[in-house]
């Protein structure tokens, strides 16, 4: 069976560069203006991308580092004051107004990311195993599992806001009709983060499922046939063939899922906006909420730098895990 789905690794080992027609040595005989154009040509091609990446990624990242070292004085007309790492110290000082919120929000974000990964990865594998069969209505079932991944976060959150609603919400209506006590899903400080995480698991499981589907379809059928001849079946086949061969997919899904969890915050806008008392707030959402507070610009940037450093370290870890995974696979 031809694999229908495939996800190429982000960083592929490259074949050695071949000489192309454009670098042929006959350029020497051309007039200097043509030669200049020939030399400049590749740079002209990448210039638009490079300029855009500079304006919207490199410059703001560097500027965030600089701005995070300054504090805006009470009188906004005065120049910002250099405070060194003072803003960072405040962020990690639990007695400081921003530090108390920040440390809690980092905890929330880690809980959100880890719990999402712990639940959505096994679920997505389960869904992929189920949907990797020929069966009636397969398209419908696949749609049913995958569609949440296509919804805007704020749309998904609006639907769940109704399901979660305290009084007329669907979940509490069902609970009441079964004789249970209704639960304040978004109003209870101890529950709000769990509710937010629940929505994320529901939304992302279908997305990660497609990577497992792709991984499953890359496993050669002959392996299963050979194992069947050896008398393996069911769990034995799954644990000795499927799981080991999905190792790279699992690694990929784990890391991507984790990285995404740090950027997935828009749903909060319709799921209590981080309330009560920021118990449901996630890091990027805290940054978003603090932007309008001009005096806290230094904190906004310090938080941005921390978020970027976290994401960078995951991506670098991802890169090394993948390279190592590849070498294992090649050996």
């Amino acid at each position: 069976m031809k694999p229908a789905l495939r996800h190429p690794p982000l960083f592929k080992k490259e074949p050695p560069m071949q000489d192309t027609a454009l670098t042929a040595s006959k350029a020497v005989s051309l007039p200097w203006s043509r030669r200049l154009l020939r030399i400049a040509f590749p740079y002209l091609l990448i210039a638009p991308t490079l300029i855009l990446v500079f304006i919207f990624t490199l410059y703001p990242a560097a500027n965030a580092v600089i701005d995070s070292l300054y504090s805006i004085p009470r009188n906004a007309r005065e120049a910002p004051v250099f405070v060194g790492l003072g803003n960072y110290a405040d962020l990690f000082n639990p007695d400081h107004f921003i530090g108390a919120t920040f440390t809690m929000v980092v905890g929330n974000t880690l809980f959100f990311a880890i719990t999402s990964v712990l639940f959505s990865v096994p679920m997505s594998l389960g869904f992929a195993l189920l949907l990797n069969q020929r069966m009636p209505l397969l398209g419908v079932w696949r749609f049913g599992i995958f569609y949440p991944a296509l919804l805007p976060l704020i749309g998904a959150a609006s639907i769940w806001a109704f399901l979660f609603s305290d009084t007329v919400g669907l979940i509490n209506t069902v609970l009441r009709s079964l004789g249970g006590t209704p639960v304040n899903w978004l109003g209870d400080p101890n529950l709000v983060l769990i509710s937010v995480t629940l929505v994320n698991i529901w939304k992302q499981a279908g997305y990660y499922m497609i990577f497992y589907l792709a991984g499953l379809q890359n496993i050669p059928r002959e392996l299963y046939e050979a194992a069947a001849l050896d008398g393996a079946h069911g769990w034995g086949m799954f644990s000795s063939i499927t799981l080991p061969l999905l190792r790279r997919t699992t690694l990929f899904v784990l890391v991507v899922n984790f990285i995404f969890a740090f950027q997935t915050v828009e749903q909060l806008q319709a799921l209590g906006q981080g309330n009560p008392g920021d118990r449901g707030t996630l890091l990027l959402y805290l940054i978003f909420k603090t932007i309008p507070e001009r005096r806290n610009w230094g904190y906004v940037n310090a938080m941005t730098v921390i978020l970027v450093l976290l994401l960078l370290s995951f991506t670098v870890a991802n890169f090394f895990l993948f390279e190592r995974g590849r070498e294992d696979a090649d050996a």
Binding site: F41, F56, Q133, R134, G144, F211, I291
Partner: protein, 276 residues
């Protein structure tokens, strides 16, 4: 793939169906509530539609925000982003795939930094940049940060490398210019990659909320997701969930229909995307 002829197969089918239906419950109830009279909670009347089926919620939701503008803006946003992206990633993708030049590796790494530092994380600084450029509250502000795409460059580079070099050489011997070679060789052969890239780009920007919310103020330049946020904040206090669900469905319908039509293409594109 096994055939579903035995009882184990039937059990699998039931399990799959049950899981999919549970996953679909939020959507199903959103649809039901949107057609149910506003005053009737779920517990009253026919469990599915209450006492009657009505479009009142859609009418009420339609009147809360300038949805016509929101649709126009969302379409302009995704089309405006995609069009420029196609041009920039084609150019850079070709350069990195087929040309040799000093600093090639370093420049590629600089561009790839965009994958490692997602635009979303730089919300605050980019907001300041947009203000400095005098683009606050314009449609340009929505699109500009997404015009360059490291993911797209990587995808096109990989795709162009798969094109046999002989095709380009043959065209060159025939005297074709660079643009003619692109048009007759590379771009047609890379068509599936363009489709994949387009689907991922369109669906992620159609759903974008925080950035449009923060760089615009006037309703007439804001996209659907921001309109939905307004609908949420005006209906939530009154628990007017019928209206909220009607509005939510108006926003998500285009993508969901697109997905139903091209399910396979979508799944393949997303599987090859990994990172947006």
């Amino acid at each position: 793939m096994r055939n579903m002829s035995d009882t184990a197969g039937r059990g699998m089918w039931l399990l799959t169906g049950a899981a999919a239906i549970i996953w679909m419950l939020p959507l199903i109830f959103a649809v039901l509530v949107s057609f149910r009279p506003q005053a009737e909670p779920v517990s009253i009347g026919n469990i599915f539609f209450g006492s009657r089926i009505t479009l009142d919620n859609y009418a009420a939701a339609w009147n809360i925000a300038p949805w016509g503008w929101h649709y126009v803006n969302s379409i302009l946003f995704v089309v405006g982003v995609l069009t420029v992206q196609i041009v920039t990633v084609t150019m850079a993708g070709y350069a990195f795939a087929r040309l040799r030049f000093a600093g090639r590796g370093l420049l590629l790494v600089l561009i790839l930094l965009q994958l490692m530092i997602p635009t979303a994380a730089l919300l605050a600084q980019n907001f300041a940049t947009i203000r400095t450029l005098g683009l606050y509250d314009t449609r340009w502000a929505l699109m500009m940060p997404y015009w360059g795409s490291a993911f797209g460059v990587l995808l096109m580079r990989q795709t162009f490398r798969g094109v046999p070099l002989e095709f380009e050489e043959a065209a060159r011997i025939d005297g074709a210019s660079w643009w003619q070679i692109m048009r007759s060789v590379y771009i047609p052969l890379a068509f599936p990659a363009y489709i994949a890239f387009a689907l991922v780009s369109i669906s992620s920007h159609w759903n974008e909320f925080l950035w449009p919310f923060i760089v615009t103020r006037t309703e007439e330049v804001r996209p659907l997701t921001v309109g939905l946020n307004k609908l949420y904040s005006t209906t939530e206090l009154g628990a007017l969930y019928g209206q909220l669900m009607a509005g939510t469905l108006m926003v998500i319908a285009p993508l969901v229909v697109l997905f139903m039509l091209f399910q396979r293409r979508f799944l393949e594109s997303f599987a090859s995307s990994g990172l947006k």
